[in-house]
């Protein structure tokens, strides 16, 4: 108990912990340094520095009533709480809080899959349910349903969606918060509220009609700090009969503009799953003269890049396409996509990939039979949770900055250039924005690009450089109308500052709500850049 909550002395904190032990049982209140070690952010760039935000204790309630009790006790003592579901938010702060000395409310013990309805395609889960758990439940029950999961399967539908995390199947399901339907929340005074149809006693449509009547506050709980979510519903994809892939390549750099336009139409018309873009020219980045061209300040000319591509015998861009549905529909959608793309870009090449009935066999899941070099990660694409993605984690983890941009080739080129120039001086980092950097079509209606610099725990100078680069990236992106979609607690104020229209009207609105709903400022103060009055004064 060497960290204390803000404004509380050791004696009062001991009193609060005693009450919490009384409420949830002594085994589930953790206050020793040993037990709190795993509540630190193992990817932290500020590990062991004054900036690191440590918990003063962690509590693990078993049910909603215990969550309410904890919230009421915290309210009386003015202790900031920081709820986590599975606490795997790596790259975005892990399980660590916004305010040093917060008590973590670890909801892992609330791990029941409360309902899965095959005929109506939804699930209702508790926060401790991981994607692995939900998948296993569906498999064990033999239900013809598909989940949409992030790459790492150990996170939770609730934690991930409250971060507005994403997955890799059809657009409507990839946006995990967008695919949620109905939640139960413990409010800052300990009261339990249900949103949407959950507010109507006896309604059977809580997971089917998210709005109910009147304003829908569900959005306040994603990247917000207005309550602790204890149940949440999710729409599921009726498992399609068949899966089919194809690869489209285009020879010239500017062909990308038309390629994106066509894929947007296919995607918005729900004719394909996630279009996965890449530039085959990335393979040339190990060649110093190509790397110099691709990272040239002010951007390389299209002609120079096209010359490099043709010299290497590579197309400028490619997109992996994926089709889900009945076998005949996937075939027809592929034929339609080919025709559409070839009539817009006659020089494109369209190659048929694999196709097979779902669920995939082990061999199909292994993804070793594509007749071309594919960028698809098969587990995610088919909603099968895995941890295979951890192979990309180097050093002691990384940070994530994924700015949102419009789905247009021109805008991708602009971001490559602007962000590439802005981060040019950070030459110890890999180049994230260069002429071969591709956009991610994770969110159904927007692109994002990647900046994910590594963290080295034993090298504070490197981490300080990474921290400077992160802040520079946030600032420069915002100057060009690009905002981060999600950030670690140490960067949330910087990101929130950029969403500043009309003198920060949005943040002022959130803070007015915060003061009304959580006057003691106990639920995750600072999350989403929203500070309660008590902390704003500092």
């Amino acid at each position: 108990m060497s960290v204390l909550p803000p404004d509380l002395d050791a004696a009062r904190f001991a009193e609060a912990l005693a009450e919490m032990r009384q409420a949830i049982g002594p085994d589930w209140v953790f206050a020793s340094d040993e037990d709190l070690g795993p509540y630190r952010d193992s990817f932290s760039p500020v590990w062991d520095t004054q900036q690191e935000r440590l918990a003063s204790a962690a509590v693990a309630p078993a049910d909603v009533a215990q969550v309410s009790s904890i919230v009421r006790i915290a309210g009386r003592f003015g202790i900031p709480l920081f709820p986590i579901s599975t606490g795997k938010n790596f790259g975005y702060g892990g399980p660590s809080p916004n305010v040093h000395g917060s008590v973590i409310v670890d909801l892992k013990r609330m791990d029941k899959v409360l309902e899965v309805d095959e005929a109506r395609a939804f699930a209702l889960v508790e926060p401790g349910v991981s994607y692995f758990d939900l998948y296993r439940t569906i498999e064990e029950r033999g239900l013809k349903l598909m989940i949409d999961c992030p790459d790492p399967g150990w996170g939770s539908p609730i934690g991930n969606s409250l971060e507005r995390g994403i997955g890799y199947t059809m657009g409507a399901f990839r946006d995990h918060f967008g695919a949620s339907c109905g939640m139960e929340v413990v409010l800052p005074d300990g009261e339990v509220m249900r949103t949407g149809m959950g507010a109507l006693p006896g309604a059977k449509t809580w997971q089917e009609y998210r709005y109910g009547f009147g304003p829908d506050p569900a959005g306040l709980f994603a990247q917000g700090n207005f309550g602790i979510v204890t149940k949440m519903g999710f729409r599921l994809y009726p498992r399609p009969d068949h899966y089919r892939t194809a690869l489209v390549t285009v020879p010239r750099r500017r062909d990308f503009v038309k390629l994106v336009e066509q894929c947007n139409i296919l995607s918005d018309a729900m004719l394909c799953g996630e279009p996965v873009y890449a530039s085959p020219l990335m393979a040339l980045m190990g060649n110093p003269s190509f790397a110099a061209l691709a990272t040239k300040k002010g951007g390389a000319s299209d002609a120079a890049l096209d010359a490099a591509a043709s010299e290497a015998g590579l197309p400028a861009w490619q997109v992996d396409l994926q089709f889900f549905g009945p076998e005949a529909t996937t075939r027809a959608n592929f034929a339609h996509a080919r025709e559409r793309i070839l009539s817009a870009i006659p020089t494109a090449t369209v190659i048929a990939g694999e196709d097979f009935p779902l669920p995939a066999t082990k061999e199909q899941l292994a993804n070793v039979a594509q007749p071309y070099r594919s960028s698809i990660r098969r587990h995610g694409a088919l909603g099968v949770p895995s941890l295979g993605i951890w192979k990309i984690v180097r050093e002691d983890g990384h940070l994530g900055f994924f700015p949102v941009l419009a789905r247009s080739g021109e805008e991708v080129f602009r971001m490559q250039r602007v962000m590439g120039d802005a981060l040019h001086e950070f030459d110890q980092l890999p180049s994230y924005f260069n002429a071969a950097s591709a956009p991610l079509h994770w969110h159904p209606h927007a692109f994002q690009m990647v900046f994910a610099p590594p963290v080295k725990r034993a090298d504070p100078a490197f981490n300080a450089m990474v921290d400077t680069a992160m802040r520079r990236a946030v600032e420069v992106a915002a100057e060009h109308g690009w905002g981060d979609y999600r950030a670690a607690p140490i960067y949330q104020d910087a990101v929130s500052d950029t969403y500043s229209f009309n003198n920060h009207a949005l943040r002022r609105f959130h803070e007015t709500l915060k003061d009304a709903i959580d006057p003691a400022g106990i639920i995750a103060p600072g999350r989403g850049g929203i500070w309660p009055q008590r902390f704003r004064k500092r």
Binding site: S2, F30, D33, G37, I376
Partner: protein
């Protein structure tokens, strides 16, 4: 407080001492149920990274197994289920402290007793692999 690591180490030592007293005396084989429980815990919390199967999308190994294989360069197996040298204390240390890309695990995910069961399972599986 900011120099948390030595404190943690000391505290972990205490916990290990407590845990060790709860385990069967050295040399006596772990009970079957403990091995079975350990297998289930390993499958749920460890195998997705440290299992023996191939990794995703053409990777020959799962990430944790690949990382350990690279670290030991053949002097020890990369797959934990083939390691004979992992006692409860060692596993508990890595579970609670992580290592490089591997984060720490909390007691709400894997209890100290679960780690004991994992250890029993790994000894049994290493022995059967050897046989």
């Amino acid at each position: 407080m900011r120099t948390i690591s030595p404190l943690l180490l000391a505290a972990t030592g205490l916990a290990l001492a407590t845990l060790a007293s709860a385990l069967p005396a050295q040399g006596s084989p772990p009970a079957q149920e403990e091995v079975a429980r350990g297998k289930a815990v390993f499958a749920r919390h460890c195998a997705a990274c440290h299992g023996r199967g191939p990794g995703d999308d053409g990777s020959p190994k799962l990430p944790g197994t690949a990382a350990l294989a690279a670290r030991y360069q053949g002097s020890l197996p990369g797959a934990l289920e083939e390691r004979e040298d992992l006692d409860t204390e060692t596993i508990l240390y890595f579970v609670r402290h992580g290592s490089g890309p591997m984060p720490m695990f909390r007691k709400t995910e894997v209890s100290d007793a679960d780690v004991g069961a994992i250890s029993a399972y790994l000894s049994a599986s290493a022995a059967s692999t050897k046989n």
